[in-house]
Amino acid sequence: MAKKLGLIVNPFAGMGGRVGLKGSDGKETIRRAIELGAKPEAPGRAVEALKALGDLLGQIELVTYPHEMGEAEARQAGLSPTVLGSIAQGETTPEDTERAARELLAYGVDLLLFVGGDGTARNVCSAIGQNLPALGVPAGVKIHSAVYATTPRSAGDLARLVLEERVGRMQDAEVMDIDEEAFRQGRVSATLYGYLRVPADQTHVQNMKSGRAPGDEAAVGAIAEHIVEDMEENPDRLYVLGPGTTTKAIKDRLAIPGTLLGVDVVRDQKLLAADVGEQRLLELLSGHPATVVVTIIGGQGYIFGRGNQQLSPRVLAAVGLENIVVVATRDKLIGLRGAPLLVDTGDPETDRRLGGYRRVVTGYHDTFVYRVEA
């Protein structure tokens, strides 16, 4: 049976960037961008990604949404796509993206290729979660999410490998977005919105080696084992677990409910409080020895200040900077290409003191010594 590739294009993605608007979210921004002379970026990038599939295009079913949301780009790449749904041409909305993603999931595509930026990724994520392999073609102004390939061509290449069943390994990748309004005023306020299942980047992964556990499960499981061993030895200690799938694995290992995107507190291997904010954390920490466990959020290497703002300078001061444990899979660390881990807590002095060399737990009794920069 022919493989089915889903395609969603956010036609407005990227339009704000060229004209200096730092984003394209919201009707008003797009109107201003068009006024300022912005041209659509996404359609060309969609075509470029599709063309990288080469001969394979003739052997698959491309399923997409009408007009500029994929149909037009598919035809430009020489395809006759299956078209679902309906839209108001020229006035597409985030709801259209969500509806399209849901319908493509229901249609049973093997992989969803979406073209856009962080906003688009959020819409796709809220519609399909981790129920369908997906991959972003970068076209947006903001790309803080780790769900995007580096170029449209590399997205197409990777999609081809997946459809040819030459890559089956998927990994959880963060969907992040920043507050555009704050960003325009010079502040970065990033939130972690969830995770998508994306095909493993082949730049660092041999696609021929047998015997490797599929996905990150084995690696994050070994990290969880390491942390839980520490918890067993310190039953009175509080463990403040930051957001992310790597820290979530610790909660799964303990079989306790916890949040994926929030900060949870554990004592004696039991959940003490879930999804707590800064104030509640400070109350809980008062007078108690504690360890903060955080992971790298997003593709840029942040361990503080992106998606975990609850872990504020005051919270870190209460815990003590020597009681911070960073956890990350080897693949994720190596994916940084030697760039340092980053901190942006909002307090330059805390950032400076967080800098230097830190141990990063990468497996059971397995750590890296890695550089952190403010």
Partner: protein, 518 residues
């Protein structure tokens, strides 16, 4: 001059089935005659004499194939490989694929050697014991260490012997519970992390600095009262020799730890630098590659583990010793870590390596290192101009030693053709697939080449010309390279994803039938 490139190379492609698929019920390779009645009567019912639990209830599932078809099957397979000695082995970076003189193969096939048994009385095997003893002297001289064992069955095994020695050392001091961490570096051989982990240590890995050298500041942050040892390769697989290796040793010693030098890449510095002068307490050699004996599937392998006299009490037993009159085996070392392998290691490798080293002489070992480094730098100077190709930490001001790690990242960005694709294409020119890198790929789209002293300038030129040609082909017609190989036997794997899935892959026919019932 125009380099030789085998443009019209064409390998046999038999699409050879698995031998089980050739099975024809009833077919036999050898028909064993029934024993004569007298023999039968004298032996009685031998099957009845077997313990009940040992008798099979069902016949084993073996392929039923005639002699002729078995022979053809394996000849076909041999024609579908690109093994050593048939092709340009520069491909196998980190493997030190050098020529293995045929006369040494003749030596080990001599009945006077190959009919020896390791359980023979010492008096009857004085010759091979003497060769062990003499070769140990050579290795001690090459490394500067005080003692050596040849018991390990390979390089990784020698590293594991080192980890076991470190464990015994700290146990003897009563500090093993405290000294439970071993430090290594990301570009050291993976066994430098795996062997300590297997021996029960926690492992700390250092990242390189901007020059591609292990970060000395990271080392300072890593050492503590928990440091049992550092296990480091040098030069690492990038071909970069750590210019501050002695400082690393000093920092670890100051913290109380031991220092082990992984010398699997010794071809770069034979006769030039020694572990002892850099301050190391232990080191190892891959005897089977550095000292001229076959590597890989042609095996077998042997690892030499060397140490200073303070650690000598922990070496495996038995040890080959000489009392001035005769050679003998001594197991009387109460602090020994015991045996790491049967008997005394791989005697045929020691004999071949001894013969090779005596042939080379001390100056020859130095020359071997010099030529290896010159060969590598000659290739680097040509390959650095190939479009789409670069090498790791280029421009760091440190000359590469005996190998280099290249990256096809730019080619992949420009054309979508990555290192796996180039690797499939290279076989179309009669050159075996190259070594990419250990996993995971810290350097993206990697290619690691090691032109040892064996190769002539024509070999080097051929290799560089093929690489240049494939780059040109990739820029002209990427899909053609993505569909390679075209004229060699190996095909693309039909289903890579299945190879990542333990529920689907199988390494034996029996496992295959279990996972894929017919």
């Amino acid at each position: 001059m125009t380099a030789r490139v085998r443009k019209d190379y064409q390998q046999a492609r038999w699409n050879e089935p698995i031998v089980y698929e050739l099975s024809l019920p009833g077919a036999r390779g050898v028909l064993v005659p029934e024993p004569e009645p007298e023999v039968q009567a004298a032996a009685g019912d031998v099957l009845k004499a077997l313990p009940a639990g040992m008798a099979r209830k069902e016949l084993p599932n073996l392929p039923e194939v005639s002699q002729k078809h078995v022979l053809a099957h394996y000849l076909h397979l041999s024609q579908e490989t690109l093994g050593s000695n048939i092709t340009n082995d520069i491909s196998e970076g980190t493997c030190t694929m050098k020529y293995n003189p045929r006369i040494n193969e003749t030596l080990v096939q001599d009945p006077r050697f190959c009919e020896l048994h390791p359980d023979q009385d010492e008096d009857t095997v004085q010759g091979i014991l003497e060769i062990y003893h003499r070769f140990a002297k050579i290795i001690k001289e090459v490394s500067g260490m005080d003692d050596v064992t040849f018991q390990p069955g390979g390089g990784n095994h020698a590293v594991y012997t080192a980890a076991s020695t470190v464990r015994a050392y700290w146990m003897a001091k009563g500090q093993l519970a405290q000294r439970n961490e071993i430090i290594t570096t990301i570009f050291s051989h993976p066994c430098d992390a795996a062997a300590p982990a297997t021996a029960g240590f926690k492992v700390i890995t250092l990242y390189p600095d901007k020059q591609g050298v292990p970060d000395i500041e990271a080392l300072k942050a890593a050492v503590s009262e928990h440091t049992a040892a550092i296990f480091m390769t040098n030069p690492e697989d990038l071909g970069i020799f750590n210019p501050r290796v002695d400082e690393f040793v000093k920092i670890v010693h100051a913290a109380g730890g031991l220092c082990f030098y992984d010398q699997a890449n010794a071809n770069a510095f034979l006769g030039v630098a020694r572990a002892a002068e850099a301050g190391f307490d232990m080191c190892h050699f891959n005897v089977h590659k550095t000292f001229g004996t076959p590597h890989g599937g042609e095996g077998p392998a042997n690892g030499a583990f060397c140490c200073r006299k303070e650690l000598s009490q922990f070496l495996p037993v038995p040890r080959v010793e000489y009392d001035g009159k005769k050679y003998f085996l001594n197991s009387n070392y109460p602090n020994s870590i015991g045996k790491v392998r049967d008997f005394m290691g791989t005697a045929c490798v020691i004999l071949k390596a001894y013969a090779w080293t005596m042939m080379m002489g001390a100056d020859g070992l130095r020359e071997c290192a010099d030529i290896s480094v010159i060969n590598n730098n000659y290739m680097l100077a040509q390959l650095e101009h190939v479009k789409g190709l670069d090498y790791a930490f280029r421009g760091n001001g440190i000359k590469r030693q005996e190998q280099a790690r290249y990256t096809w990242e730019q080619l992949k960005k420009d054309t979508g053709v990555g290192t796996d694709d180039v690797n499939n294409r290279i076989a179309d020119y009669g050159i075996e697939h190259y070594w990419t890198s250990h996993h995971p790929w810290v350097i993206p789209e990697p290619m690691t080449l090691e032109p040892c002293e064996t190769y002539s300038i024509d070999d080097l030129d051929e290799y560089c010309a093929v690489i240049k040609r494939i780059s040109d082909e990739a820029y002209a017609d990427p899909d053609f390279i993505k569909a390679a190989p075209h004229v060699s036997a190996s095909h693309r794997r039909a289903n890579d994803a299945a190879l990542d899935d333990p529920a689907q892959w199988a390494v034996t026919w029996r496992a295959y039938l279990k996972k894929h019932p017919r």
